[in-house]
Amino acid sequence: MDTKIILKQLEEMLSKEQVSTDGEALYDAAADRYKKYAKARKVLNVPTPIAIVYPKNTEEIRKLLMYCNDNGVNVIPRGGKTATEGGLENWKDVTIVIDAYHLDSIVKIDTYNSQATVQAGVPLQELEDELRKVGFTTGHSPQSKPVAKYGGLVATRSIGQFSTLYGGIEDMVVGLECVFPDGHVSKIKNVPRRSGGPDIRHIAIGNEGTLCYITEVTIKIFKFYPDNNRFKGYLVKDVESGIKVLREVMVNGFRPSVARTYSEEDAAQHFYHFYENKCVLLFMSEGPKGIVDATVKAIEDAVELHKDGIVKQVDSSLIETWFNQLNWSQKDIDDEFEGMIENDSHSGFTTEVSADWETIPKLYDSVINRVKNEFPRAKDLTMLGGHSSHSYLNGTNMYFVYNYNILCEPEDELIIYHHPIQKIIVEETIKFGGSMCHHHGIGKYRSEWTKDEHGSAYYMLEKLKEAFDPKGVMNYGTIFPKEDGLKYIE
């Protein structure tokens, strides 16, 4: 269908003010932070969407999705624009971005039942600020906290820095409302638990806009005890020594809110003033005083048990200072963008994976070894390391962090630098039986390995797509691999 006709019909469906065709805004909407450098240098190689639309309610989203479904228009749902894996990148000539900007209402804060309901466009920071006023917290604190919005957080299965205590977003969502491309609106009610068949919340949580548009979510909220926060930090011999302590604390049944081990190289970025060329192990414990005291004691016991790997304890205030500056704001994002226009550099990339306790140290060593020996531009690396930052009873994640001198044209940066490193990380993770995507989602740039990630269970994922988006209009190329998308990857 002719673009002009689509735009006219969109304006009729909503209003002229709710349909943006501003060139700069469309260029910005063509890609997310995966192509941040190419975007800053104005050399994006993907089509721009034809419009960004700003619906005001579920009914308008329903109408939009039905229209797109009937007319073969690709839809990219958008929240706070902090995606890092290409989930917001456009691969279709006729695409509209449905932005949750006007879905900005905090519907209800229910402290008695420890839950809050928000529309998809509510920024996490905004809800957090409201909750703090009544002594509660969301417990969710991704680095993007000041910018990210609830629709995106849920759609990407996001995780926060306190996940070891509070869980990932999937552990927090009580119920939600979402709209499917055929116009059906599903509302999953808010109950403590039920055994009514498979947990259908998980069809929407993590769908990355490929199955439905999330319009509203209800999440758990938690009592906040900031005065009880305690910090512990240690220098450790190597990554494995730090991981052993993390495991000890976790398997003994304790849940610090922050539990991390940094490689020496990564520690240099964050703790340059005290890391002494060693790896860093750190904890934050929060909650009721009795629990915090018990958790701190458990950390000290674990450190004592594994003292052979501990170099020394560091001043707790150093960890607390670091903790207070964890998040990046919109200004940080904008500053990085401006910096990339002027300089042949950016703030680096990350690839986050997970595996069981036994595997993670081996996986870490294997990846680092392969990158150093096989990556053709290894000499351009200025940083290669990682940290474990989200732990579970049976394992932990590894957040590989890398940066490099960009000695190529901006158009080629990803294919020459980031993608080969990411490929090694994903290949090794899958080989070791871990997950290639711990918390950034698959987006478009890990979709080439979605089948490898899920193996025989990919059947289940594929059937969901067939059932809920049979015409394939929802976020084309995200999660589900597409042959014609390879031209943007390779």
């Binding site: 003033h273 200072t321 500056q325 000695l407 190529c408 044209e409 158009e411 080629d412 294919i415 020459i416």
Partner: protein, 264 residues
């Protein structure tokens, strides 16, 4: 238009090897880079080629054969021909001998303009471009900050030369030797990913003393009248390191430091 870019490969300052007996840089063992000023000359030439695809640009360099792969990469960016002048007899040549060798080759080819950098980051004498001009009986301007693209043609060019005190615009008749400074905005692009393995062997011309026919006494260390008397390794003073916390006190310390140094 036929443009020749004379370029030099210089040691990477972070990774080079120096022969303290002969006082020469071991170019074979060092990581070599295109001299930054010379890269600007290449960048300008390529810009002209984009404007007029009929232009022919030849890159000329005197260097060990170990830089062949780097010359190939220059060709992959879009240059028409690269000539490497390389012979073990030429090792250790001073700037005058180097200029003589380069000029002998340049005298044999057609050109409308010779571009080069002004300074090199290893020697920094800026002798070679002016000596080439002298040998070829051409005019020469260095420290060129800008060349007016629309005026650049077979017969003349309008260029702006900058130094610490002034900025002067000249019109110069061509052919001439125009030496650019790294303060100019011309930038040599990187090889595109799709061209990383492009076969450019047919554009690479390697010539030796067999072609230029110097006697062994005229070139290399033997032929060079400039002698390095001595060299020394630059020593750096150890400075006190002060670590401050990211609090009000730390901000004040950093602010006062910058203020003392005149940055604020």
């Amino acid at each position: 238009m036929h443009i020749v870019c004379v370029i030099k490969f210089v040691p990477d300052v972070d990774n080079f090897s120096y022969n303290y007996e002969t006082h020469t840089i071991s170019r074979n063992d060092s990581q070599m880079l295109i001299n930054p000023d010379d890269a600007c000359a290449l960048g300008f030439a390529l810009k002209m080629k984009k404007k007029d695809p009929q232009s022919f640009i030849e890159v000329v360099s005197m260097a060990p054969s170990s830089i062949t792969s780097q010359l190939e990469n220059i060709l992959r960016v879009g240059f028409d021909k690269a000539t490497l002048i390389s012979d073990s007899l030429y090792a250790g040549s001073d700037t005058y001998v180097t200029s003589k060798i380069l000029s002998k080759y340049l005298d044999k080819i057609d050109y409308d303009c010779i571009l080069s950098g002004t300074h090199s980051i290893d020697g920094d004498t800026s002798h070679v471009p002016s000596q080439i001009a002298q040998c070829l009986n051409l005019d020469h301007l260095n420290s060129i900050y800008q060349i007016e693209e629309d005026t650049f043609n077979n017969s003349s060019a309008v260029v702006t030369v900058e130094n610490e005190k002034s900025s002067i615009t000249y019109e110069i008749g061509l052919p001439a030797v125009l030496s650019l400074s790294r303060e100019s905005s011309y930038r040599l692009p990187y090889v595109r990913y799709k061209n990383l393995n492009l076969d450019v062997s047919d554009k690479l011309n390697i010539i030796s003393n067999k072609d230029l026919c110097f006697s062994a006494e005229e070139v290399g260390l033997k032929g060079s009248l400039t002698k390095v008397k001595n060299t020394h390794v630059k020593t750096y003073e150890t400075r006190d390191k002060k670590i401050v916390a990211s609090d009000d006190n730390g901000v004040e310390v950093v602010y006062n430091f910058l203020k003392d140094k005149g940055f604020i």
